[in-house]
Subunit: 331 residues, 2 copies
Amino acid sequence: MSKPFDVTAIGSAIVDVIATVDDRFLLEHGIAKGVMTLIDEYRAQTLHKALSGAREIAGGSAANTMAGLASLGGKGAFMGKVRRDRLGQTFAAGMAELGLRYTTRMAEDGPSTACCLIAVTPEGERSMNTYLGANLEFSRKDLTDAEISDAQVLYIEGYLWDAPLAREACLKAIEVARKVGTKVAITMSDPFLAARYREEFTAMLDAGAFDILFANEDEVKSLFESESFDHVLQRVRGWGRIAALTRSEKGCVIVSADEVHIIEAAPVVRVVDTTGAGDQFAAGFLYGLTRKQPLDRCGRLGALAAAEVISHLGARPETSLRKLAAASGLA
Amino acid sequence: MSKPFDVTAIGSAIVDVIATVDDRFLLEHGIAKGVMTLIDEYRAQTLHKALSGAREIAGGSAANTMAGLASLGGKGAFMGKVRRDRLGQTFAAGMAELGLRYTTRMAEDGPSTACCLIAVTPEGERSMNTYLGANLEFSRKDLTDAEISDAQVLYIEGYLWDAPLAREACLKAIEVARKVGTKVAITMSDPFLAARYREEFTAMLDAGAFDILFANEDEVKSLFESESFDHVLQRVRGWGRIAALTRSEKGCVIVSADEVHIIEAAPVVRVVDTTGAGDQFAAGFLYGLTRKQPLDRCGRLGALAAAEVISHLGARPETSLRKLAAASGLA
């Protein structure tokens, strides 16, 4: 019986606010260059005001993945919290435009919609300032069980482990997914996050809470506390479910109980901005997987989507991934 | 019961003649720059005379591997044909110096000892001119069965398939090895060679003639007629024996019936000359394998030996591989 959604995701609902600035702007506003800094609401407002003429684009890791899935022609739903404010409307409008189901109730009060204020200096360096805002309010009450049972895969953004209520909601969502036979995928999001929740994540992996693991090389090495990629590969093989381990220009390694695939990175003329590479890889991979494609093909779809997004600024595809996949004989 | 030799190899017995020249020399002598050209005896003599002040170093692919094995502290024997001439004595002396058993009867007449005349231009480019000479005379009569049964592994240089008598001798040697329980390893040597003998090699692989396959990425893609590394990986997994697939700076992939290991290349400060990387990889790998090391460790030993040889001119180690391995906790 086919399900209406390929993937339902739970993730951070963030609007990226991108503006080109000069180095003096960074100095004046005390912005640490080239890194991501968490900021509070007051500072978010100040910076937002200072970044005049900024572009606002719906973002967030798992939401970006859903945008990629939609670009491939996949169907999905997203759960994540915004407040009913201007950025919240921007985020919701972005999801609607992509044909993605997004019905999480907007908060009427509390912290405002999350934003990531990105100051791009002329040489192309991005300095990111993230305000988590309304995401910290996502809770079990925001789960829509039907959207979990209506999807082949529930995709969970690891970043949410830093938001206690959202983490609790994810645990509940996994429970629901288990009951209704929806596969559960998790993305590790960040090497430090993988380290912070190492014990919990590895215990959950071994207990069978997840069917699919997405992680880049740094994240999976951090998760399993090893400096050796081969060591983590053996650990993941022993786990026995599906793991998609991305390795930047080295491509990716896809592992299941019986299979190991080594997939090359797709060619890119010029790498402009690697933000979103992992998000789009997951999009391509999940698109293939929910269409019962063999794992090597899923990996190649992931590589194709990642190659598109790193060849321009921004974390969502600018070219139809469906057309690109068709041109490569992958769709 | 332990055997006196770790490895017995059959390969080309070649002396490398290396000299630094200028571009005018290449033009005057009609040497194609940067490639390997097969030449005849007359031309070999002419060029050898012209390359005044050249260094003569025992070489040959499998012989280089045995030099690496010796540098690691391994024991071995080598079979390959030289003529009783000055270069033949140089080759034999090189093997003796390394403590390797080398008793193949020297030819008293016929083609002279093989040499590879290497003209190195100031920018470091090598233009190679190979005269196969006495190697073409290696035949079944030159096999010493005891040296095959006395070794854990019989290592065969694929290049010999271009020498009909030597190829026939290799087939006989494999038969002997099968009878006495010596494992058989082959190295593919060259992508064009793998293509020329594709049907024979793949039939032999599938018939169980080889226990261990060494090939670089180009060679294994050529052997299995595929552009996709993952495709050849699956083919090799299906084969079910041990394969060591080298990928230059991407490291190597080691495969057996149950195992897949992805090993990083060992760090190199500056790549000077990649000649001999595959030969030394095989040396490290076989050293580990004959000491019953796990496959990932064998791969790391191979990577270590390859890293040493590409950091200087020439195809044999200049630093004790045993000491390097000890420093890396691998010996």
